[in-house]
Amino acid sequence: MGCTKFGEHWDRSAADLLVEAAVAAADSANIDIKDIDAFWLGTAASGMGGTMLSKPLKLDHKPVTRVENYCATGSEAFRNACYAVASGAYDVAMAIGVEKLKDSGYAGLAFSSPPGDGTDDPPTTPSLFSLVAPAYSARYGLDSEDMRAALTHIAWKNHRNGALNPRAQYRTEVSKDQIDRSPMVASPLRVMDCSGVADGAAAAVIVRADDSPKYRRDPLYVKGLALASGPGNGQMDPDYDYTTFDEVKRSADDAYRQAGITSPATQFAMAEVHDCFTPTELVLMEDLGFSERGTAWTDVLDGRFDLEGDLPVNPDGGLKSFGHPIGASGLRMLFECWLQLRGEAPPERSIASDRPFALTQNLGGGPGDCVSFVSVVGVDRSA
């Protein structure tokens, strides 16, 4: 795998980032790019079509498929590339994702929609996810200070992790006080509850497990891959209460079943999850089965998901401080699993665990109307 730094790369184009990530991943796999059979390219808004990759890399008429699935685009590229080699259609595939969000000049994410009737004015993404916090508080009896403390801890944890990571967009620790006082964006979310807007790219080289010894002795194995695209009922069904993402639960259940995970709370060495906003990460802990319903907030405050905790979540800083170039994020999550499980993470953030599994969870869309990707990866082929 390969992964560029994420951040404001004013001086680097999408093509520049793609080349860097592709070369890094190919080198890491001890393979020449020209020996890769097929490519899956993930980008939400930074380009279209296969030539977006084949032109900068000067590929010799190889198949390149551009995919998009909102913020789960990077995972979507990975998923498709995996099926391509698993089916036997190709022997070596590359999944690569890129985004150049800082080229737009806008604050926050801005998606263009197809022509419409004007009744679905896309809300800002913070305003979508902000509804999760009061809903969770109301359902489980938290007062606003409890909720604020839990959200702040999540932001603080992810910034602390990112400070240890040379590839992250934001590499300074942020105090809890700074988080509590940051300006309001979409109540109750403040600036510090929101992930960064960044440029970046990441890539993976994928082969069938039987072929991996040709390339390296210490691959990462894909144990489970799942995607759930929900019916999008959240905004029209009064039964949806904004405290859960069914799509996450369903995709997690599917991936766990494939991988033979029976106790998600205790079988993972680490997890990379979609912390687009702090309340999202909170709820994900329950939807992924890491915490019982209604208790994730206390687990958070107890430090259970801190780097030194029993189940480190987002040890690389997460979307929050690593940044969220949409097309790359799902692959960046896998990149941390790649480093950590194979003992290549730098010592200041390396996780000592004998659990052989890691999880990535990548969300696209909003509460009640989203897609969710879950992967289970591991270093033990037989586990």
Binding site: S104, G105, Y106, A107, G108, A110, S112, S113, P115, G116, D117, G118, T119, D120, D121, P123, T124, P126, S127, S130, L131, P134, A135, A138, P183, M184, V185, A186, S187, P188, L189, P231, N233, Q235, M236, D237, P238, Y240, Y242
Partner: protein
Amino acid sequence: MTRGLVAYGAYVPRHRLDVAAASATLEMPSANRGRRAVAAFDEDTTTMGVGAARLAMAGRTLPERGSLAFATSRPAYADKTNATAVHAALHAHKAWRCFDIEGTRAGGTALASALEGTGVSLVVTSDMRTGRPGSADELDGGDAAAAFLVADDSYGPLVAEFVHAYAESIEMMDRWRLPGHPSSDTSEPRFSYFAYQNVALDALDQALKEADAVRSDLTAIVASSPHERLRQRLTSALAHDGVRADPTVDGRVGFAGAADLGVRLAATLDRCAPGDLVACISIVDGVDVILLRATETPNGARTTSVADQLNDTGRSVPYTQFLTWRGFLDREPPRRPDPAPPTAPPSFRSTQWKFALEASKCRACGLRHLPPNSVCAGCGTVGHMTTETMASTPGFIRSFTVDHLAASLSPPVIRAIVDFDGGGRVRCEVTDADANALAIGDQVEMTFRLMYTTGTTHNYFWKARPVGRPNT
């Protein structure tokens, strides 16, 4: 067969501008100590017209055939008929003749023509008045709408019978505006007072004579003019004959252009007694006189009175915000993309949803779908939906957020999840609300609004608005 008003409704927007405070901002003296009504950034003459028409039509269904006259001096669009948007928002049958009448006089003439006509006629008068900052048109103007359902008594009981109408027209440079220009030119008021000096009283006397009546038969006068002095002159002259002028809107709305006569008439009808003879006199480019007699049910048809809407303290807007809303201050926007305009084919396909807030409802399980869908989210049944307009269904705030990032002429944007009585949910903006005072559980009603204008295209849809006393 008697003809008259079957129903009426007036809509006064919730925002107010303190005239003295605005004058002080401009370092101008002001004798006017009142407040004027201000249409919000998300209102225009079309949306206010819909507001008034819905109040008039509350609890009623429009017949399959009629005519809809939309009178305003500030149409949202030239070229395109604006009355058709009002017609669509009322979810009316297709066989209606909808047309716009333009000009400050248009409200009086539209009502008189409808009363003298035949068939069912919905007269919707609506206006937004302003001028250059500090002008009389700005500070003495007002934004409001009033609607009248006119028919003969075979349609239903009348709240006021039509007695007689009389009109005179004068070609005169009293006030004029080039289309698209932000303000009107006016002649010196003393010239206008001269030109109009006896016109209104003489016209009233002529109308009364033609109706075999005299001034002392009158109970109430409804006088409307862009010239406040002419209006007061007329009402004082008639006060000597014992004729009262309802004071409800004085100093609280401002001259509301094409809607002014209608709003004043609505306020008068709100307090009429059976048998009252009411003279409506509109003095613009001549004079229109309409004589009406209140019936046994003068107030039966009203849902929300003009006084109710004015007794709510209303939300005060700072003068700088008023100027921003009216386009006189081109403020720096946030770094967000311009919203995309609605395009014709999708808007055409979803006209009922966009203009009438029509949901689909599954015939198998009853689940309401906003926006409409052909596959049921509850039971999965395909293509077995019926339709249901939700515009008049009350709801409450299930959750909301105050969005400081979103681009708006009036940030922050309040986005809410609204659950409807009897089922159904929609995600929408909340308007006419104080973000600090809004709470989960607050009751809301749906209101037709201008979401934004992007380039040269308006985008209309529905928002939720707190009911009861507005938050100030």
